[in-house]
Symmetry: C2
Subunit: 336 residues, 2 copies
């Protein structure tokens, strides 16, 4: 164990409460003593004992906020954060959950947190200017922020936890090659709504020729993350390209795309690769309509993000990396 507050006080010849004030930058200490105590703390590498601190904080509270807009990823992310809370339950940190419905609500929610006495925030930010602004406000208020699943503005957060899009696109290319035994035509279902999806698609397109030179991209359509539109665009794509062997879905609306495939009588014949592991997707993998899905480990993302925040809150531990990637897990029906 390191040096204690009491020991520092003894060395300085003052009372421990004086040292406490210095540590917390509270008034009520002469400048001379303050200087001297600061030096001692520095020299001896004083670190507060989180146990003692937490024991104390049991009457007061220590709260964190988790902001997860209601998109597909929200439930899994939430589960992850809850799992980690278990490990730190002794420190009885209260965690407030918020589930804004859209970008405006999310920005509003984040702005509101500036006022409340919150010790830190985990947020899955929607890519929007208002949200970015609100994040900047939080960091101005010295409230630490961890972004999860999607990122927004590097300066306004402590760390980002998410998927490596480059890797996720390449992995898809490898799998398409395998599923088609190295040759055939693939259609891409994509969307331009999110930066991450664009990155992923780009990685796929640039790696495919290297990985499977005889697989040809027939066509790519943009579904704008709209369920009905996704259905129509997929149906149209299938009509225009009757010789397609596979579909690569880079974005959401997977069930709608699959419905279109089914309605064209191609379920199980067309190989489909998609992302994530929402319950609806799991079902489609198990039924064989989707060959395989690449999961970004959302639970793990939630867990890591929550951990980084707690580490900061409890131990003043600043994340070593600016961004942390989770694995790209390949799931077939056999190992889903």
């Amino acid at each position: 164990m390191g040096i204690t507050l009491q020991q520092i006080a003894d060395l300085a010849g003052v009372h421990k409460s004086t040292v406490d004030k210095v540590i917390h930058n509270r008034p009520g200490v002469s400048d001379a003593k303050r200087q001297m105590i600061r030096k001692l703390l520095e020299e001896h590498g004083y670190e507060s004992n989180p146990l003692a601190k937490a024991l104390n904080y049991q009457k007061n509270k220590f709260t964190a906020a988790v902001v997860l807009p209601s998109v597909d990823a929200a439930p899994a992310l939430k589960v992850g954060t809850e799992l980690l809370q278990q490990d730190f339950r002794s420190f009885n940190i209260e965690v407030q959950y918020y589930e804004p419905g859209n970008a405006a609500e999310e920005a509003e929610c984040l702005r509101a947190l500036c006022g409340q006495n919150v010790a830190g925030v985990v947020v899955n930010p929607i890519e929007d200017h208002a949200v970015a602004d609100a994040l900047k406000k939080l960091s101005d208020a010295h409230i630490p922020v961890i972004t999860v699943n999607s990122d927004i503005d590097e300066s306004a957060r402590l760390c980002f936890v998410g998927q490596d899009m480059e890797q996720s696109g390449k992995t898809a290319a490898r799998l398409i090659g395998l599923l088609l035994d190295g040759h055939g035509e693939v259609g891409i279902i994509s969307s331009r709504a999110m930066h991450a999806v664009i990155q992923r698609r780009h990685a796929f397109e640039s790696y495919l020729p290297e990985c499977s030179p005889e697989v040809r991209i027939a066509e790519a359509v943009d579904i704008q993350e709209q369920p009905e539109y996704a259905y129509q665009q997929t149906a149209a794509l299938l009509e225009r390209n009757p010789s397609l062997h596979a579909l690569f879905i880079t974005c959401g609306c997977v069930p709608d795309v699959c419905r279109a495939v089914r309605d064209k009588g191609l379920a199980g014949k067309l190989k489909i690769i998609c992302y994530e592991r929402y319950p609806a997707i799991t079902e489609l993998v198990e039924s064989g309509e989707i060959s395989c899905t690449i999961s970004g480990e959302l639970e793990e993302q939630g867990r890591l993000a929550m951990r980084l925040l707690f580490e900061y809150m409890i131990y003043d531990h600043i994340p070593e990396q600016d961004q942390v990637y989770t694995k790209n897990e390949i799931l077939f029906r056999e190992n889903i």
Copy 2:
């Protein structure tokens, strides 16, 4: 927060130290009071506050032992346990690591732990009678044991953390089917040394016909987990079966098997699937000699095992499941 020891004492009209004695089954309390206090504790669902307890234990110690025999899996398992220790570092539990070289040493090591004042053990047990005996001794001494990576005797441990062998075998069958585009001949490199490996192979063999009926198993050889023997057996297998398309390695000695393949001029031509993710295997996947490996997430296993033990030591929390499985992760060079 739940009810405190002091509150129970007040209710019982006794001093808190008396309650403490009852809780820890120490002598020095009349039977009448003991009964009464026990009832109160029960009724109010008293749970000790781990924070206060730990704060106290800072001068004394609280130690756990991790016993990882020096097999390939050891380093990754160790890393996992260390990661989890980070999360619980506040409770400053001392963890002693032991690395026995063989079954006899492991048994000896476990027996020795019975005497030392150890609060719990995480162990990767070698399948051996002496080890099983030693584990039974530990559980007789009321020392909780978590087995990790391989299991041994259900009665003598709190929980087992490891891979789902059924799933790992089936996943391999699926991948072989994909790699061979549904038809061809596969050779099996296996070993009868471990129960788990046999299970895995069996799952593969019984699922393959269902999954890829046109893939034929040409031959299976037993390499007895001996590097040199593995090389020879593989070479012989390749000579006897010149038409082989793939190799399925169910066990260890992967680098030696690959060396034999390389020496026959088949590196990269023969598709190879194996297990785990040791550095040597990672290299072979990256170089393209191994098509893909199925990882049992050894780090995660170590982490989970350590967590289950700490949960028990700190919170008296008994694992809900008798065995916990980690994922079977599919790794190609793109996502390794």
